[in-house]
């Protein structure tokens, strides 16, 4: 007869014992009241365990690429919002994202809708700074990589501007060295010309940003107006019906008097 063996008991409990070991354990249990009782109680505990179910999850994970994510249909939870609200939310998101990149100033005053942009600067510039003023210091590697990491059109443009600024700085350094050695200045685009290109590029970007923002604003207004008309069309018949009912009630009451 074998001794009480807890590992065998667990193996037997989960029906995971080789045939020979199983037969031996059954022989033991038939003669050992303590193991029999323990086996019974553990089976009972397993029965209890079967009643514990996790809450039913309401999710479906999905791994998507960013392009697919944009193309994916909106989730149903957004269906409750009118289109103009979604357009407004999209506008705010675009504006916030763009502002984070380009220091946008948005104002709506007596002069109308004003959008003004200027590149964001992480640290104070050495020279005078403001919209349209290019940094005199070389663009850091971090700033360049951050600009390249941004996949959007603003990010691309920013990367181009950063690259041009870097080129200007390099050329200035090279010209300075040439001047020190007494050599004639080299031919090609001068730093001043490059500065002009940079200024033009930034100006173009400002215009494009303003146009995009204006377009979002127009879309938002059009969607809101359209939804307003639809709401009016849906509500007007019901209001008329309620009016007629009220008139009937008043008419009946006056007749009873």
């Amino acid at each position: 007869m074998i001794m009480c063996n807890k590992e065998q008991l667990v193996g037997y409990l989960y029906d995971d014992l080789p045939a020979e070991e199983r037969a031996a354990f059954e022989g033991h249990v038939a003669a050992c009241a303590r193991c029999r009782q323990e086996l019974f109680e553990l089976r009972e505990t397993r029965q209890h365990l079967a009643t514990w179910a996790p809450p039913e999850p309401e999710f479906t994970f999905q791994v998507v690429q960013s392009a697919r994510a944009e193309a994916a249909p909106p989730r149903p939870r957004f269906a409750m919002f009118p289109r103009w609200a979604l357009a407004a939310a999209a506008g705010v998101l675009v504006a916030a994202g763009a502002a984070a990149i380009a220091n946008i100033e948005v104002r709506h005053d007596a002069n109308g809708f004003v959008v003004r942009t200027g590149w964001a600067s992480d640290a104070p510039l050495d020279g005078p700074a403001g919209p349209g003023v290019v940094a005199e210091r070389p663009i850091s590697a971090d700033a360049r990589s951050a600009a390249v990491a941004d996949p959007g059109p603003a990010g691309q443009l920013r990367a181009e501007v950063a690259a041009l600024a870097q080129r200007v700085a390099e050329m200035e350094q090279a010209d300075l060295q040439l001047a020190r050695t007494g050599a004639p200045p080299r031919s090609g685009i001068s730093p001043a010309e490059l500065r002009k290109i940079l200024a033009e590029s930034e100006s173009r970007q400002r215009t494009e940003m303003a146009m995009r923002f204006q377009q979002i604003w127009n879309d938002f207004n059009a969607a809101r107006a359209s939804d307003f008309v639809r709401v009016q069309q849906a509500v007007a018949p019901e209001l008329q019906r309620q009016g007629r009912l009220l008139e009937n009630v008043i008419y009946r009451n006056s007749g009873q008097r």
């Binding site: 807890k6 590992e7 008991l9 667990v10 193996g11 989960y14 995971d16 059954e26 249990v29 038939a30 029999r36 009782q37 086996l39 019974f40 109680e41 553990l42 089976r43 009972e44 505990t45 397993r46 029965q47 209890h48 365990l49 009643t51 514990w52 179910a53 996790p54 809450p55 999850p57 999710f59 479906t60 994970f61 999905q62 791994v63 998507v64 690429q65 697919r68």
Partner: protein
């Protein structure tokens, strides 16, 4: 015929996102259930499940197929659960539902089960959750993997990096402690005492 995990993994490694999403669909509930039973919090279990699939996706090229894909997922999940428990520095919490909706309950009843039986079953489930939360993490994990995921002793030993005998010991001790906690909670016996072996 549905593709096997191995086929889907191979296609996923080749850049097929849909294949990976099929794996996610196939395993998200078991992974969530494992996380929920180990850490005991619905929201956090959901986060752990999501993080499991993200990590699996990122590390897919490192998956050599030496273990089953499910075992690999379980391992990631258990590591995340362990991190969670370490961060929380406390035992998992047994969540108590805010209220019982009888209509919802009725829809969940088995054909031969009355509402009273169902309520009793839910109560018992909650008592089990509370008792499980009181177990040491190693014992709880061993019970969850064996009881709810049907892993063999050897698979559990491989997952937890411990000898086979340790797995059996943890299971035995865990079940004994659980039985004690349930008795203290007033859970009654469900078997007749004369029905042995």
């Amino acid at each position: 015929m549905p593709s096997t995990d191995e086929e889907l993994v191979a296609r996923s490694m080749g850049g097929d996102l849909d294949s990976f999403n099929q794996l996610v669909l196939r395993w998200e509930r078991p992974i969530y259930a494992l996380a929920y039973r180990v850490i005991g919090r619905e929201e956090d279990a959901r986060d752990v499940a999501q993080e499991t699939f993200l990590r699996a996706f990122r590390a897919l090229r490192g998956f050599k197929g030496q273990a089953k894909f499910s075992s690999w997922l379980y391992r990631i999940t258990l590591n995340l659960c362990r991190d969670w428990i370490r961060r929380q520095r406390r035992a998992p919490v047994a969540q108590a539902p805010e209220g019982v909706d009888l209509i919802e309950l009725a829809s969940q009843a088995e054909p031969a089960e009355t509402i009273e039986d169902l309520v009793a079953r839910r109560e018992l489930g909650r008592a089990v959750a509370r008792a499980m939360a009181m177990l040491p993490e190693e014992q709880r994990t061993a019970i969850v993997l064996k009881e709810y995921h049907g892993l063999t002793f050897q698979e559990i030993a491989d997952l937890l990096d411990c000898p086979l005998s340790t797995v059996k010991t943890r299971l035995y001790q865990g079940l004994c402690v659980l039985r004690k906690h349930l008795a203290e909670a007033g859970v009654e016996s469900v078997f007749a005492r004369n029905d042995h072996v």
